[in-house]
Amino acid sequence: MKHLLKSIPVPSIEPFKQWLPFSCLSMATIAVLLMLGSSCTTVPDAVVVPPQVEGAHFVGNQKCADCHGEHTRHFAGSVHSRFFKETSQFHEVSGCESCHGPGSKHIVAGGGKGVFIHNPGRDPQPCLNCHQEKHAEFRLPQHHPVLEGQMNCVDCHDPHGREIFKQSGGLGLARQDQQCAQCHREQTRPFVFVHEGMQDGCTTCHQPHGSIHEKMLTQRDAHLCLRCHSQMQFDPNQVLVGKVDHSTFLAMGTCWTAGCHTAVHGSMVNPRLLY
């Protein structure tokens, strides 16, 4: 926590200072005041904007559970259960209908895929209503084509928390990077000499929703590698990494773009991951 407090927050926001009057501190103050002044009623739509179904009204999770028990019975173990409130006034903003829309017409119609109900599996908008920062990342120059309709959120995420081959933090047999491996087989296949950093997961180096950098890297220069591969330097004219002075190579570009360690995920023949 000490480390955390040290970092709060010294943003450089010069060009847009006038647009960002809320610092972390002021937001926290507002939050505390809100908590102290708690009253009795809550208008549900203060939290999220659930998708609309014309002429339908909200019915609550229990009605959904009648037919969709395979999802609802695991829901308490999912990430989204952090926001689920049991009281009825929260049905539309924290339960099934906050993502799928009001369900009354769907029920009257006897159910059915897409019958008076939203399926965020095809349309990311219900997800983006809450995950606004992800929406912004999808607008960066390099991004997965979710807004373009070629992918959707559930290709990688399991919102209900049990899909056995996807990471969810819930009850499934999820394994690290499985969701990336289903498309990026070349990078996640076994290698004779594997980059040890792969143990930390794809998101150590890649920003999966969107990035300003090509290949959706989290950083574009050699810091991406040197965060882990640094060692104490003793000669100001050298950059020692392992037993090799890398100063000349670093001056040519990054570890992988200077034509050196080009097999960044692993190599079949070269233990130094040169090719």
Binding site: V47, Q132, H223, M232, F234, K243, M252, W256, T257, T262
Partner: protein
């Protein structure tokens, strides 16, 4: 749910098996039935509203309770688990009437709490309808719906067309086709047919999906889709060279596609069985960041890695899958099998030496790889609700992968292809195997109202082996690598919702991983040196993650979400053996031979405040802080007699502040405005950062997304979207390093009108302007683009 319609495998099954229907098995007081209505019954006006209000929520097309589907005449007359429920012409003895009249104990329909009980008049109506022959309205409007939306667009780009295509996933020039189409129909027996898709030529964006579903029988899902990923073809930029970024002069793109078919069997009381096949492919050329060095004429000047490179990919995957799912005596049983055959060939060219100003390299390396594997994976999973408050589940996954690979590296002269290439490392026989066993046990407990707990433990045993006979520097070489790892992961979570308007949560994740890794290489060249080695490393990795937070909504106009997360990762490496087989070569050449341990420590704080100060305004403010420290401990290093002592240093630091402001505003009923702005302030340094050769990687990313929609009339609307992003990660040229940070600003505006020509048709016209400037690329990536997009949608009904 207290109804025997739902208990399809208990008493009703038994009764059905011996041919006794519940209604006939008991004494029914038929005198309590209301008399049939004395009028001609109209199905649509009199019966359908009763079904919609009281029955369809359980007895519709989707998973009808007791396998009784009232949506269609055929399925209604067929009955459910108890046999026929409707006897045409004989309402008095029709079980359905007994149920809805609440004459049979435990079979009252709708059950108490599900929907309102039918009135006597409604029961009388249903009786008359049955007595009159169960007439299903023939004038019911057609369930056929369809739409088709031809679309055409033209985009004119001045500047770097490749960058435009890459960033916007859109080809320039004239493109068009069917933007979307769909057709859906439902037959009288409940069979649903649906076709949907799109086909845009120019961007090679195609999709077609066919769905055929029959309740209580099965389904067929069939589909094909493809999209094209575009890439730029130019490399980096170094201002002192005074020349534009080198370009390959090629259109780079990769087609990604798949075809699939799923056949499902959904017979009542039977396990759900799905058999499927999928074919995926990726084919084309993509850009790489492995930029080759460009050298100026001055022989003392350093080269800069800016020459573009590309990779040709031809990848195919075939997947066979079988899923079986069944519920039996409260146990849910799942069995999933995946058999996957993947093969690909790749070829990439990296320039080794390019004189400044040359369009082709003097020398380049071509690296070709071929690879194929078969991977079989099987999952068995069971789950049961032992008590209303206790759910348990367990699963076992086994996967086995066997792969063959080949590799070839050669150096050639691009300007003189007639010259035989110089053969580098190569191999035709590399074999890899990977086996995994994963065992998982979970529980979800809700012991008291408002409190839930989940916990799970997962063990993953993975063993991987790779061996190869390769030629290194032209000499036969044996190499091998084994990797054995055991990973144990524990997940726990708590949710507490009994504090008014509040959810408190705590999630933890612990992971321990033990790794044993052995690598060896011996080159049969008669020169034992540092390239001949043998390594045996034991590694221990310990990962802890804690997250706690709350969501709180105290007033009608405010809500707060906040959480704190801390992640700790500690990796320890014990180099049991790290031997270079050369006589004079000092040991410790391989990674991570000089690293003894490394640790990352991440703190994450998130606060989100949502406000609705006025009925027409909603705004959300959020802040996120992520701070990570990387620490590395290294062994002492002997560099040709000079010994550098062991050290422990802060090898990296990453700080990120993310601010988001989002607002929607509806000043008038017909006008809707929304906007989201974000600011990311990022800074990364490493233990090598010295301000000259390596400067901090720091800067801000700004984004804004705004939309406006105005409904001018019932048939005319206008909407606009403006998106903006910019970054200032540009690095100063110190004369030593290659400045590689990026400065850019990007704008995109799309505005247009939608005109409803009739209730079934509408026309959409849009204009778009896109602009991108990247000063750190010397303007080589800049573009301006104007686009016109038109579509016409025709739908029925």
């Amino acid at each position: 749910m207290p109804t025997r319609f739902a208990y399809s495998l208990s008493l009703p099954s038994l009764l059905f098996a011996v041919g006794i229907q519940p209604a006939l098995a008991q004494n029914i007081d038929l005198s309590a039935l209301p008399s049939p209505a004395q009028r001609t019954i109209d199905f649509r006006a009199d019966v359908l509203p009763i079904f919609e209000g009281h029955c369809f929520q359980c007895h519709g097309d989707e998973r009808p309770k007791g396998s009784f589907n009232l949506r269609h005449r055929e399925t209604a007359l067929e009955g459910g688990d108890y046999g026929a429920d409707i006897l045409p012409g004989d309402s008095e003895n029709s079980p359905l009437i007994h149920y809805v009249a609440y004459l049979e104990e435990d079979m009252e329909m709708p059950p108490v709490g599900k929907a309102e009980r039918l009135t006597r008049e409604q029961v009388a109506t249903l009786r008359a309808w049955i007595d009159q022959g169960v007439v299903w309205s023939t004038d019911e409007p057609s369930s056929l719906t369809y739409h088709v939306e031809p679309a055409i667009s033209t985009v004119s780009v001045s500047g770097n067309e490749g960058v435009f295509r890459e960033q916007n996933w859109q080809n320039d020039g004239l493109t068009g086709g069917i933007g979307s189409f769909s057709l859906a129909d439902r037959m009288d027996d409940g069979t649903r047919v649906e076709v949907q898709g799109r086909s845009i030529f120019g961007t090679e964006d195609h999709e077609i999906q066919l769905t055929l579903e029959q309740p209580n029988l099965g389904f067929l899902h069939l589909g094909y889709d493809q999209f094209r990923r575009f890439y730029r073809d130019n490399g980096g930029y170094y201002a002192p060279f005074g020349q534009s970024t080198p370009s390959l002069g090629r259109d780079l793109y990769l087609d990604n596609g798949r075809t699939w078919i799923d056949l499902g069997l959904t017979l009542p009381k039977w396990p759900t069985i799905v058999l499927g096949y999928e074919h995926r492919y990726r084919e084309g050329n993509k850009s790489m960041l492995h930029w080759g060095p460009v050298f100026p004429a001055d022989p003392l000047a350093a080269g800069k890695g800016i020459f573009a490179s590309a990779k040709q990919i031809d990848e195919e995957t075939h997947i066979v899958k079988l899923d079986v799912n069944h519920t039996w005596k409260g146990w849910t049983l799942e069995e999933s099998f995946r058999g996957e055959f993947t093969e690909f060939d790749t070829s990439r060219v990296v320039a080794d030496f390019t004189p400044l100003g040359a369009r082709v390299a003097d020398t380049a390396s071509r690296i070709e790889e071929d690879y194929d594997h078969f991977q079989g994976a099987n999952v068995i999973r069971v789950e049961k609700k032992l008590k209303p408050w206790c759910l348990v589940s367990a699963g076992y996954l086994y996967s086995d992968l066997s792969a063959d690979a080949g590799f070839n590296l050669e150096t050639f002269l691009p300007s003189n292809l007639a010259t035989a290439p110089f053969q580098g490392d190569s191999s035709r026989s590399i074999i890899l195997d990977r086996d995994s066993h994963v065992l998982n046990v979970n529980t979800l407990l809700t012991p008291v109202s408002g409190l839930s707990f989940f916990g799970g433990i997962q063990n993953d045993w993975t063993s991987q082996a790779g061996v190869g006979d390769v030629f290194v520097f032209g000499s036969p070489t044996g190499l091998g690598a084994n990797l054995d790892q055991i990973t144990t992961e524990e997940n726990f979570g708590l949710r507490y919702t009994k504090i008014r308007n509040t959810v408190l949560y705590l999630d933890t994740k612990f992971q321990q991983r033990e790794i044993g890794q052995r690598e060896n290489q011996f080159i049969d060249d008669g020169f034992p040196d540092a390239t001949d080695f043998m390594r045996d490393t034991d590694a221990h990795m310990d990962h802890k993650e804690y997250r706690t937070g709350l969501t709180y909504s105290p007033w009608t106009w405010a809500s707060l979400d906040t959480s704190v997360r801390r992640r700790l990762r500690q990796n320890e490496y014990d180099h049991r053996r790290d031997t270079d087989l050369g006589t004079f070569a000092p040991p410790g050449n391989g990674f991570s031979a000089f690293v003894r341990s490394r640790a990352t420590e991440t703190d994450d704080l998130q606060i989100k405040l949502t406000l609705k100060p006025w009925s027409r305004v909603r705004t959300a403010l959020s802040y996120r802080l992520t701070a990570t420290d990387f620490t590395t401990a290294t062994d002492s290093v002997d560099v040709f007699g000079t010994v550098f002592p062991a050290s422990n240093l802060l090898s990296g630091n990453y700080d990120a502040h993310l601010y988001t402001v989002s607002t929607t505003y509806q000043p008038k009923q017909r006008l809707y405005l929304s906007g989201t702005a974000t600011l990311s302030d990022l800074r990364t340094t490493s233990g090598v950062t010295d301000g000259t050769l390596l400067v901090p990687y720091a800067g801000q990313v700004y984004t804004f997304l705004g939309t406006a929609t105005y409904l001018a009339s019932k048939t005319l609307s206008w909407d606009s979207t403006y998106s903006f992003s910019m970054a200032d990660f540009g690095q100063a040229d110190t004369g030593l390093n290659l400045p590689i940070g990026i400065d850019y600003d990007r704008h995109g505006i799309v505005t247009g009108i939608t005109k409803k020509l009739s209730p079934q048709s509408q026309l959409r016209l849009q204009y778009g302007f896109f602009r991108y400037d990247e000063p750190t690329a010397g303007g080589a990536n800049d573009y301006r683009a104007h686009g016109i997009f038109a579509s016409y949608r025709r739908s029925f009904p």
